[in-house]
């Protein structure tokens, strides 16, 4: 399951699994987010191409407004997915320590 909501400092908290079944929920939330958009992915356990598509669409929308998205606290396994897909070259993806 996926939990997506605002946390402290208006960071978007992404918790759980962002898969094809949860992509529409995540997209509906992120479509309403205004820049700057910092996504705290510390609780994100899993992401598939459907989830990457949601983030790509959001980044394109916000980049057109002069900003974009920034992911922080990404766990190393999830970070591999961003690396293999090249998405880490499009927006900032910071690994958790």
């Amino acid at each position: 399951m996926l939990d997506i909501r605002y946390g402290e400092d208006r960071h978007v908290l992404l918790v759980g699994r962002l898969d094809a079944a949860q992509a529409a929920t995540a997209q509906a939330f992120l479509d309403e987010v205004a820049p700057p958009c910092v996504i705290d992915a510390g609780g994100l356990e899993y992401i598939s191409s459907a989830g990457l598509g949601v983030l790509l669409k959001t980044h394109k929308r916000l980049a057109a407004a002069g900003s974009g998205i920034r992911l922080i606290n990404v766990n190393p396994h999830v970070h591999d997915v961003f690396r293999y897909s090249g998405m880490d070259k499009l927006f900032s993806v910071t690994c958790s320590t």
């Binding site: 399951m1 699994r17 898969d19 094809a20 079944a21 899993y46 598939s48 191409s49 459907a50 990457l52 598509g53 790509l56 669409k57 980044h59 394109k60 980049a63 396994h77 999830v78 591999d80 997915v81 293999y84 897909s85 090249g86 070259k89 499009l90």
Partner: protein
């Protein structure tokens, strides 16, 4: 372990539960789980989206082969479609040129150790293996 699932992305939660059960049977490398889950999802969703001429459930099978997980997905009464023949994704493409389409099967090709497709008697079967890292084997 072999199970069947209805042709719906809402089955993903049940697939994850089944995979949880499979992995709980032995101590494994935590790094193994995400590539296996991702590959199952991408292949399953691909079958659901593009093999529309059938109502049959999709069969998922998971086995331990030594220190590797072997996973197969079989789609029944369908036309052939080889998901192992995926075009290379340009990961250096600029933002304007990037599209989500094609990313899933490309990720599978990068994250598994081996992948094989066979088509026989109107059944499409794709099998992949993922090995544990040496220090966990």
């Amino acid at each position: 372990m072999e199970m069947t699932f209805k042709r719906s992305i809402h089955e993903l939660q049940a697939i994850v539960a089944a995979t949880d059960l499979f992995f709980s049977e032995r101590r494994t490398d935590p790094a193994l789980r995400l590539p296996v889950d991702l590959s199952i999802e991408e292949l399953f969703v691909n079958m659901v989206k593009y093999n529309r001429g059938t109502n049959h459930d999709i069969t998922l099978r998971l086995d331990w082969i030594g220190d590797a997980v072997e996973v197969s997905l079989t789609d029944h009464d369908v036309e052939p479609y080889d998901p192992t023949c995926v075009p290379e994704l340009d990961v250096d493409a600029p933002l304007a040129a990037r599209r989500p389409r094609g990313m899933g099967l490309y990720l599978v090709s990068k994250m598994v150790d081996a992948i094989h497709y066979e088509y026989r008697n109107r059944e499409s079967k794709v099998t992949f293996t993922k090995r544990m890292a040496q220090d966990h084997a």
